[in-house]
């Protein structure tokens, strides 16, 4: 038995697409387009937030001028680039062979293994903050305890530092500490992406190569890597965008301040502080648009590096 919808409630075929699209479009306008437009508007204004919206005044390009001459902004850009490279490159260098290993080495338990690697990606940032703050503790952290343990091994004695490392209190250690968390969080996500790509490679390619006498390494270089190139493009683009917008890990590990000598101050964290700690919403908005231009530029360069080559030649 089927219920008939009254005629008055029926949507005409001409309107149906708009009605069905409207929830997304409405949400996109409120949470996507409006903040974008408002941030662009703010970038050209000076605003005393505690005085309300009416206190905005047009300042032209002054916020951009301030952003581009701000030493801390450039310091944050340097930190961000360092972290994007130090955390991003190893993610892919490890995730690709790891995905190949999981694909070949695990049959029954593959999903469990992938799940284990994926777990950090879905773990709450609060839990991560507690975990890593404790791990990186100078006198009582597990990492320093482990290093101390290694120092008893004669061969390693010369490689391991003598005293405990103040991971979060020294500029030279803060960035590596953040990079380790970023790597730990996202390597599993990339493994999942590369595993999906590996499953699309026809098996007969490997069978034919084996029959032609190609070694496993030759198969990896000549079949696997070229076949997953489109996924590499996708994954690297995500890493570039995510790396340049890095916020959570730097925020939680440095208590939201950016660490000693601003060593862990990423650009996303700095513009958040600029707005919400230092009340300069105009300057922060201008910085966010400069960051956007930088992200767009690097994404374009990634596109050039990974776009399909013309094989006809």
């Amino acid at each position: 038995m089927s219920m008939k919808i009254p005629k008055s409630l029926r949507i005409s075929p001409a309107w149906a697409p708009y009605v069905l699209l409207s929830p997304f479009v409405t949400l996109f306008f409120i949470f996507g387009l409006f903040p974008l437009g408002f941030s662009l508007y703010l970038a050209f204004h000076s605003w005393e937030p505690a005085s309300g919206l009416a206190s905005m005044s047009f300042v032209g390009l002054r916020n951009f001028e301030f952003a581009l001459r701000d030493p801390w902004f450039w310091k944050s850009m340097g930190n961000t680039t360092w972290l994007a490279l130090a955390a991003g490159v190893p993610q892919h260098l490890i995730a690709i062979p790891l995905a190949v290993f999981i694909q070949a080495g695990f049959k029954r338990f593959r999903n469990i293994v992938v799940g284990v690697y994926f777990m950090p990606y879905i773990t709450s940032t609060v839990a991560i903050a507690i975990l890593f703050s404790s791990l990186f503790s100078t006198d009582y952290g597990l990492i320093n305890q482990a290093l101390h343990g290694l120092s008893h091994i004669p061969v390693l004695r010369f490689l391991v530092p003598v005293g405990p490392i103040d991971w979060l209190g020294r500029p030279q250690y803060v960035k590596p500490a953040i990079a380790v968390i970023v790597f730990w969080r996202y390597v599993g996500f990339n493994v999942v992406l590369y595993l999906a790509a590996l499953q699309t490679i026809p098996k007969d390619l490997y069978e034919a190569a084996t029959m032609d006498g190609a070694s496993s390494l030759q198969q990896f270089w000549n079949i696997t890597l070229p076949s997953i190139r489109p996924m590499m493009y996708f994954a690297v683009t995500l890493s570039v965008i995510g790396g340049l917008q890095l916020f959570d890990e730097a925020f939680i590990l440095t208590g939201g301040h950016g660490g000693p000598d601003q060593a862990g101050l990423t650009t996303a964290l700095y513009l958040y502080r600029e707005a919400f700690d230092f009340d300069d919403f105009g300057g922060a908005s201008a910085m966010s648009w400069v960051l956007f231009a930088f992200v767009a530029l690097l994404t374009w360069l990634t596109n050039i590096a990974f776009r399909p080559r013309n094989r006809s030649a």
């Binding site: 937030p49 309300g52 919400f276």
Partner: protein, 389 residues
């Protein structure tokens, strides 16, 4: 009312008393973690929406909140808070008064600074509290003795002494970091002296080099690796309740070295301008209940270690009671003296940024061996760029 931890509990505890005055009016207390609370309040003021009727403001945020015109001037009728001025501890009232004599908030609690020290460690070093207090030079000399006798560090971080010394000798109408004309004061003698002392402490390895509230800081307090702490009186409550209850009886309180009077924290209650007049009237009644009612002020002191702002509570018997955590010392008398001696410093909208810049300058001196003069000059330039933004 919107508040952050401790102030929220104080407000909730006042609701039964409120109900006796206004039985038909309910009070809802919205609580957030301190940073989130101030971000939410700034957003509410910026957008003029979801404004609470009463807004709690921590002293370090007061400069930013007072700069805009979003808060009611309590000096004007019908509030006329000036009439109650003699009832408040002087520095707290002055702290909420702007350059144009507007009063943007009513004080609700203060944090008189105190020196907490390990009595047993000091004895082991053969020193007395007077040695520690007389002068900053003696403070360092005792630190060396302590290190030799027990291995304990004099302070948690060399920056702790800078935070006090930069508060010493602030001229009236001046802020901590900026003068009355918004010019940065980073190269003045206050900062040079603070940095010099911090460098001495670091050079003699007398600080544990740990950050306040970090795991290592807490552990250092528990296991006797940190001999002194300079903080607000409220820290004793934290230490006794969860931070280091096992050290009960080992700590004592004293005034800060060289008779320095400094405040650590403090809460204020403000009324947003953009709420209805009738709500504002009741909101003011609630503020008066929290800030000007002696019973409520003492109750907050007893339950939340919120030191009273009302001078007429300062002779309550509670101030003379011994504090078991401090070995039975009657330390509240000391804190009362400190509260009455502290002088207000002008708050500035760029204080948060300036504090960050000064910390960085100190870091360069202590860790990278940069000269104090060069480091302070660089900080001064950075702040000059900021002024007027």
């Amino acid at each position: 009312m919107a508040a952050y931890p401790s102030v929220d509990a104080i407000a909730r505890a006042a609701i039964p008393a409120w109900k006796r005055i206004h039985p038909d009016l309910n009070i809802e207390v919205i609580s957030r973690q301190i940073t989130d609370h101030h971000t939410a309040m700034m957003t509410a003021l910026a957008t003029e929406s979801y404004l609470p009727d009463v807004m709690a403001i921590e002293v370090s945020y007061l400069g930013r909140f007072s700069r805009g015109g979003g808060l009611e001037n309590l000096a004007q009728p019908p509030f006329s808070i000036e009439a109650f001025k003699p009832e408040f501890v002087p520095y707290a009232f002055d702290q909420a008064t702007t350059k144009t004599d507007s009063v943007v908030a009513a004080p609700s609690d203060v944090g008189p600074g105190t020196l907490l020290y390990r009595h047993d460690i000091l004895q082991e070093a053969g020193s007395t509290i007077e040695d520690l207090q007389n002068s900053w030079e003696n403070f360092v000399a005792v630190g060396i003795k302590i290190k030799r006798a027990s291995g304990a560090y004099l302070v948690a971080n060399a920056s702790d002494v800078v935070n006090i010394l930069i508060r010493t000798g602030v001229r009236s109408n001046q802020g901590l970091y900026f003068d009355e004309n918004d010019q940065p004061l980073i190269t003045t003698s206050r900062f040079v002296e603070g940095f010099t002392l911090a460098a001495q402490i670091r050079k003699a390895s007398l600080d544990a080099q740990v950050r306040t509230w970090s795991t290592d800081w807490a552990q250092g307090i528990r296991n006797g690796k940190i001999a002194t702490l300079m903080s607000g009186a409220w820290l004793v409550g934290h230490m006794s309740n969860w931070l280091a209850p096992q050290t009960r009886g080992l700590w004592r309180a004293a005034q800060l070295p060289q008779k320095t009077w400094a405040a650590y924290g403090g809460s204020f209650l403000a009324l947003p301008k953009n709420i209805t007049a009738s709500k504002k009237r009741y909101a003011w009644d609630f503020v008066k209940l929290l800030s000007l009612n002696a019973t409520r002020q003492l109750a907050a002191f007893k339950s939340e270690d919120a030191f009273p702002v009302l001078v007429n509570t300062y002779h309550a018997p509670f101030f003379d009671e011994p504090i078991p955590f401090l070995g039975g010392q009657r330390a509240r008398r000391l804190w009362r003296e400190a509260a009455l001696n502290i002088r207000a410093v002008q708050v500035h909208s760029q204080d948060a940024f300036a504090a960050e810049v000064v910390n960085t300058a100190l870091f360069k001196v202590l860790h990278e061996g940069k000269s104090i003069k060069a480091s302070l000059a660089q900080a001064q330039r950075l702040l000059e760029r900021r002024v007027g933004r």
